[in-house]
């Protein structure tokens, strides 16, 4: 099966000036389950929707910790993401050994993008079928980058990739100007609300499928830490945002969450809603 006579090789141009194999690889990213990231003043929050390949299996991990100051969310081929994550972890570790300080995320993202790019120009290779959202807090503050199979990368204040990511993008576009004033709890709520729009109609956003990661300054304002929030730990945040599958539309409709938004929600049992232990 082929859509074009020019799509069987990465290195062959179509007469329209396109590299179809690379575009197909980008398609793999669009088929992957959704993930998104939001940059605040002192934190970056990632949220991702985990998939269960079948009823008996576990949910596929979507968030990979790279270093103490960096986490990636993945959409696309998981195995490709693992090999990229392994490379990124090695680079971070080497940098920390040589320079005694965390690697600048921008530098690593360029190197990763170069890895992607090499596959688009060589006959013997295939492009990576995965897109990454790289969340990091480094010497120049919080950052969110998106990488994609074409070798392109960009920095964002908020971005979503994967299937049905358009819904999340719409939400993020509506609210992005407030993100730099949001505290961590609000960032997480925004992330989950945006993610809720990416859930397919026959599923619900629950603690098994939602996963969160926070990268940023710890409570002491000095140390940089990253933390994955999954399974039971996600529940308090889900409770705090009040989205039944049907309520998703409504959430998207309301502009800013009203100031007393949180006040109306009973705090979950045990810990305070959205109180991330950043230690």
């Amino acid at each position: 099966m082929f859509r074009s006579m020019y799509d069987t090789d990465v290195t062959v141009w179509s007469p329209q000036g396109r590299l179809l194999q690379v575009e197909y690889a980008m398609e793999a990213v669009k088929q992957g389950s959704a993930c998104l990231g939001i940059v605040g003043a002192k934190h970056v929050v990632l949220a991702a929707l985990k998939r269960q390949p079948n009823e008996l299996s576990s949910y596929q991990k979507k968030l990979l910790e790279i270093d103490e100051h960096m986490v990636v969310a993945i959409a696309g081929l998981n195995a490709d993401a693992r090999s990229l994550a392994k490379y990124m972890r090695t680079e971070c570790l080497n940098h920390k050994y040589v320079f005694g300080a965390p690697l600048q995320a921008a530098r690593l993202v360029v190197d990763v993008a170069d890895k992607y790019q090499r596959c688009t120009q060589m006959y013997v290779r295939r492009p990576y079928g995965v897109g990454l959202l790289v969340a990091a807090y480094d010497a120049t503050g919080p950052h969110l980058y998106e990488t994609c199979p074409s070798g392109n990368f960009n920095e964002y204040v908020a971005m979503a990739i994967g299937s049905r990511a358009q819904s999340a993008k719409t939400y993020l576009e509506k609210h992005f100007e407030t993100f730099k004033y949001c505290d961590l709890d609000d960032l997480i709520k925004h992330a989950l609300k945006a993610l809720a729009g990416c859930v397919s109609s026959d599923k619900a956003l629950d603690k098994a499928s939602a996963s969160l990661a926070v990268v940023g300054l710890a409570d002491d304002g000095v140390a940089v830490v990253s933390k994955l929030v999954e399974d039971d730990a996600v529940q308090p945040y889900l409770d705090a945002i009040d989205i039944a599958p049907a309520a998703v539309e409504e959430t998207k409709m309301t502009d800013e969450p009203p100031p007393d938004d949180t006040a109306t929600i009973p705090p979950p049992e045990g810990e305070q809603a959205g109180d991330v232990d950043m230690s």
């Binding site: 040589v98 320079f99 005694g100 921008a106």
Partner: protein, 243 residues
């Protein structure tokens, strides 16, 4: 130094490592003071006991925040400054507003020195790294074995024996710039009097919130009238300045 290069050029020749330094610089001194960090060194490169090159500048800038002073083999020091230039160029090429802090430079040099000592082919230097970034002064020392430490006062070579005790006695965290300079000049003078590989032509440098500056070489004032320097009536053997 010849090791890697010679090996590649002529694969049949035996591997060669540095086993002793040839052209050497003596002490480098450094201290933290109220506004930042100050480094000092003379400008002599000796060939054995011969005072061969008298305008060898042994303190260099790397990036906007860091000073590196080197004693020991001067060709190795030149190689190290080239490595640091490469590193700085990488930072500039990345063009993302990030530059290495003095501490990162220090860690890098530590890694380089330790790696080379593990090849049994050390870069024969003691390096002093001083700098100032984000309101934080930094001062550290790395030697040819990769031994690395930070301190408020550091000295390499003969200075570690002759100058360091003086500096530790006189040092305060709130030292004014003038006081810091006077202290370093006193130490350089003592070194000139007592270290036969030292020179009275010196450079001072500082790293503060305003960046890094290295002075042009200038001559220290010395006073040889001190009784211990004057040959006694008995001739050279008595009171000749020795102990």
């Amino acid at each position: 130094m010849a090791g890697g290069v010679a090996e590649k050029m002529e694969s049949s020749s035996p591997m060669r490592h540095t086993t002793r330094p040839i052209v050497t610089g003596t002490s480098v001194l450094g201290l933290k003071y109220k506004d930042g960090v100050m480094l000092a060194a003379d400008t002599l490169a000796s060939y054995g006991s011969l005072a061969m090159f008298q305008d060898m500048r042994r303190i260099s800038k790397t990036g906007s925040y860091t000073l590196v002073g080197g004693s020991g083999e001067m060709s190795d020091y030149a190689a190290i400054t080239h490595m640091l230039e490469d590193l700085d160029r990488e930072n500039k090429n990345a063009n993302d507003g990030f530059e290495f802090s003095p501490k990162e430079i220090f860690y890098y040099l530590r890694a380089v020195m330790y790696q080379r000592r593990n090849k049994f082919d050390p870069l024969w230097n003691s390096l002093v790294v001083g700098g100032f970034k984000d309101g934080q002064p930094f001062l550290g020392c790395v030697d040819l074995r990769g031994t690395a430490f930070e301190d408020d006062v550091v000295a390499t070579g003969f200075g570690a024996h002759l100058a360091l005790p003086v500096m530790r006695n006189k040092w305060r965290p709130d030292l004014e710039e003038g006081e810091a300079r006077a202290l370093l000049e006193d130490c350089l003078r003592v070194l000139y009097y007592r270290d036969c590989r030292a020179l009275d032509k010196v450079q001072l440098s500082k790293a503060t919130s305003e960046g890094t500056r290295i002075s042009e070489p200038y001559k220290l004032e010395t006073d040889w009238a001190s009784a211990s320097f004057v040959a006694g009536p008995g001739g050279d053997l008595d009171g000749d300045g020795g102990w």
